[in-house]
Symmetry: C2
Subunit: 378 residues, 2 copies
DNA sequence: CTGTTAGCGCTTTCAA
DNA sequence: TTGAAAGCGCTAACAG
């Protein structure tokens, strides 16, 4: 057979009707004699029959596929974890995923949604690298849709719990006795890199914990760009301005990488001479010498949970996620200092459902490597 | 309108037949009066009509979508370049891409192909991270299919031109006067990591160039795993065994990263005390201090060209690619030493179409950073 | 220039 | 337990 076999071909070969073939191949509740079933399967197998999902979709109104709109996430190596989570979770539910890359334009996202609607996906995930509040057309009724790593009015959203992570990072240092801490990568809330809501929350968490402990950074270096260069120069600056500094908090791993480079050049041993704590857990963090302690962003989890959310249609989230109103994090700021020791970022804030919009926050997981040494608190 | 509008709805609103709507919306050659066209577009717009691609596909037998089967490429950060190339090229041709991750099992790839066939993709790209010779079911007639970064009997394939890259890497060092070169990351051809055809070719290229220049490595360190740890330990070993070594060739960037770490610890300045050349151009390479000179793998290009190959159905490849029989690289080994200075890996070997199977090799691009200093050849 | 109509391959009542 | 037939939304002859 050189041409693609259809169900009719299977039916003919098995000596039954197409209806029967359909019934058998779908294991429908309807009872079909075992003998017939055998014949049908046999025939299908013999012909190498593959059911046309397109026709099935047309008829059933469900495609068993979901759309993933990536706003620069495929471009960003360490966020490919999100894609991985999506692919895995979708596969477990027998759904295919159609992927579309849009760049950072909100208009392009709207276009992609339309394109995907036309292709009859059953649900849509919108993953965005540069976290922000998206301006999107209102969601289509009947098409489950969630935003990952950003928010959008009218859309359900998953975000990393950056505020808690900020607190945890500071705690990681202070709990080990560090009092003179430098900070590299400060961003002002009124001038965030690409207006990142995540970075804003991270900064607020850091400040909240500092305030809770009645501390100030020994010196801090402001920067919008978060690259190794900044970490390198920043460390030199910190150590110059506050020589008694025992630890540096890096705003992300790439900065921390620069911190290491500066330390090496100054002949400072990490962690004994200088301890380092960071955010993200890029692949890089594990490669450094010594390994970098950092807080892992839940990209993989956002991917997995996003799929679960749109396909299982759970109205509220399970264990891993804790739902919070968009504005509530800063408000709960000074409230709690119940820092348990080993897994700072894993603790969950009590659900404070204030906003109509449903925003679900996932914790960053602490990854302890060897970049932090304990100090006697003076 | 809460329900999804169909073409019939548009037709009714515009006061014409569905055939007319179809004709208009597809800009078919058939002339339709401007007035009617206006009305149709107007109606479609008013209803927010989106054509059902599923029905269209069923009718036309073309889905305008392609499948991408990823054997661990989405898992590998720096190979996401491949996905990027695919997405871009597909988008330019108005094709959607359906992605499926399989892990490293060939059987899973076969399954994915079947799944994708069922979903009526017009073509399939199989991208594999761990380059090898895949054991796949023969390709389906009428379904263009190419393998990226590996080979498979009966399939067209794109591979990085590792043999030439190996030669270029050695040349990068020798042309700058280095004679005492250490090599970290040697693999034996009879025991390649995951049987990688790419790594094998890389090794052969390195040896070929060495032979052509009548050189031997001052010392070489064997290792199947290519991680920073190996680079670190390996460098210590090289410098111990051959203290007069002026340069290290790293089998990949991760090893080179370890080389840097060892150099830092030994107080050796790169590149003046020790020069380093490497392969891959992972993101890491640009972050190091000083930047690492390396050869960029053409993942992005493989993605783009793969799409072009399956959608444009070009029988032989354009400019960027040069076609070679599978086994021919090693044979042309000693032949040419015409190393032009600035872009060693860009040169192309003359097409030597020997095998029935069409294999297209793409050059690695040299990325010159500051990790290499010139030496007076003694 | 525009409308009628016959399917694309499948699922699913409804009858037998 | 099985088959006949309608129809999912669209395109493309073929008429008019």
């Amino acid at each position: 057979m050189s041409v693609k076999p259809r169900m009719a071909d299977v039916a003919k070969l098995a000596g039954v009707s197409v209806a029967t073939v359909s019934l058998v191949l779908n294991n429908t509740g309807r009872r079909i004699s075992d003998r017939t079933q055998q014949r049908v399967w046999q025939a299908a197998h013999e012909l190498g029959y593959i059911r046309d999902a397109t026709a099935r979709t047309l008829r059933m109104g469900k495609s068993h596929s979901i759309g993933f709109i990536s706003s620069e996430v495929t471009l960003t190596r360490f966020a490919s974890d999100m894609l991985q989570g999506i692919l895995e979770a979708a596969d477990e539910r027998d759904h295919a995923v159609m992927i579309m890359e849009t760049g950072e334009s909100d208009a392009a996202i709207n276009d992609a949604v339309r394109a995907l609607r036309g292709r009859q996906v059953d649900a849509i995930l919108i993953g965005v690298m540069a976290s922000r509040d998206l301006q999107l057309d209102p969601p289509t009724a009947g098409l489950p849709c969630v935003v990952l790593n950003s928010t959008a009015a009218g859309y359900r959203a998953f975000l990393p719990q950056e505020f808690e992570a900020g607190r945890a990072a500071v705690r990681a240092l202070t709990q080990r006795g560090h009092q003179r801490i430098g900070f590299v990568g400060r961003q002002r809330l009124d001038n965030l890199y690409r207006g990142s809501v995540n970075i804003g929350a991270r900064m607020q968490g850091i400040d909240a914990q500092l305030a809770a402990e009645n501390l100030h950074f020994a010196h801090e270096v402001e920067s919008l760009e978060w690259e190794p260069e900044v970490g390198y120069e920043g460390t030199l600056e910190v150590l110059h301005a506050a020589p008694e500094t025992t630890a540096v908090l890096a705003a992300n791993d790439r900065i921390a990488f620069g911190v290491y480079q500066a330390a090496a050049e100054l002949g400072l041993k990490i962690p004994t001479d200088l301890s380092v704590m960071s955010f993200d857990d890029e692949e890089l963090a594990a490669l450094m010498r010594p390994g970098l302690s950092t807080l892992r962003l839940p990209y993989y989890e956002m991917g997995r949970l996003g799929v679960a959310a749109v396909l299982d249609e759970v109205p509220s989230m399970d264990a891993a996620a804790t739902s919070l109103g968009a504005e509530s994090a800063p408000q709960t700021a000074g409230a709690q200092t119940t820092g348990e020791q080993t897994t700072p970022a894993t603790q969950t804030t009590a659900p404070t459902q204030t906003t109509a919009q449903q925003i679900l926050q996932l914790p960053l997981s602490p990854v302890w490597r060897e970049s932090i040494a304990s100090r006697d608190s003076k």
